[in-house]
Symmetry: C2
Subunit: 224 residues, 2 copies
């Protein structure tokens, strides 16, 4: 059973109000993206790793890796204009594989145990995404206003999202659609079902400066 992972690091840092793209920000002294890559390496050192970066950021990344002697082997691919295009291009860079994981490069705290759970669920069902319950109330926004919906009927999905390679490749043959918010939505649009694995609240996405501090705090619990 051959497994590969695409780590998508397409952010340009605009949302963080910073010059540095969020995947390059330092978390406990190391760029966020290196943490994400390292977790997959811990899970399976033999698994091919593809890292998709905006073309403009590739030289910076190369320098960061050289300067820090980051030795986890990975292939860098140039991303496209959207996340959809980025993953589509990265699929071509993959070696022959049976299973493909797609992970957000700005989720540095993904644990090897979570990755293992998602692979197990994917192998059983063909496609898997880690999910966690909502702890706050949810409202649906509509043209005429907004209304309460039962949060128990929803879940939050994270990454890695893992797919039978054939399913993911088939799905990415479709034209882009704005409803594609993650890989699971692309695969689902192609007619496949997504199984849910148990996610983790610690597997946060770095979207704001405060998240870096929270991630550092959560890391100190992981690595005593």
């Amino acid at each position: 059973m051959k497994r590969s992972v695409i780590i998508v690091a397409g952010g340009n840092g605009r949302r963080m109000g910073m010059q540095t793209p969020k995947q390059f920000l330092l978390l406990a002294g190391m760029p966020v993206l290196m943490h994400a890559i390292r977790q997959f390496h811990y899970f399976d050192p033999a698994m091919p790793l593809i890292v998709a970066l905006p073309p403009a950021h590739i030289p910076t990344w190369t320098q960061l890796c050289a300067g820090r002697r980051f030795t986890v082997a990975h292939t860098v691919t140039a991303g496209g204009g959207t996340r959809f295009d980025t993953v589509k291009k990265a699929l071509h860079a993959l070696p022959e594989t049976d299973w493909i994981a797609v992970h957000d490069g700005v989720r540095p705290l993904v644990s090897p145990a979570l990755i293992a759970r998602c692979f197990e669920t994917a192998v059983k069902h063909g496609a898997a995404a880690p999910a966690i319950p909502l702890s706050d109330s949810l409202r649906l926004l509509e043209a005429g206003g907004n209304h309460s919906v039962l949060r128990e009927n929803y879940c939050i999905v994270q990454t890695p999202q893992i797919f039978r390679a054939e399913w993911l490749k088939n799905a990415y043959r479709a034209p882009y659609c704005p409803a594609f918010t993650d890989d699971a939505s692309v695969v689902e649009a192609a007619g496949y079902k997504i199984a849910l694995a148990e996610g983790s609240r610690e597997n946060i996405k770095i979207t704001e400066p405060a998240d870096l501090k929270i991630a550092e705090l959560l890391m100190s619990d992981f690595c005593p």
Copy 2:
């Protein structure tokens, strides 16, 4: 314009896997609930504060207040079996008021500025809840499986939720329904519209032990 607030502290600590109910856990050396009360006091020292607690926890709370010389004046009411019953009972303990805020006792980081924004929106529209966008993807869970929904069409709602007193009291005359997940959903079921104010990601709800550490971290940013 007379304003009051009901702070609901009904948790029994089961979800935290602890003996101590989460509203009594120490955050930066002070029980979570005291932080929440203090923020409303900072917002408006003259505003009547009702704190709804499970009857079994009232003696502990009284001791905590005495032991820590917590001098923010508040009225304690005994909660009911559900959050709905608890708020309903607390409504009877309120002095005459034009506007009622209802706040989760386990949201200790609510800022006076956020409370002010919610009151402004409520005064304009009759009912207001603070909302923030979702930063993760969302899935709808259904009998046959689950499917992707556009997270842009949803928002997360927090507290304080603030209502014209008459609206809230009318709404709480309805029989309990499982779709009542918060006060906004109760008021909405009575036919009133809920306006959204800008929430804050820092206004977190303490639901897990890790949240206490995150809250402490966020506090250190607030109070340099």
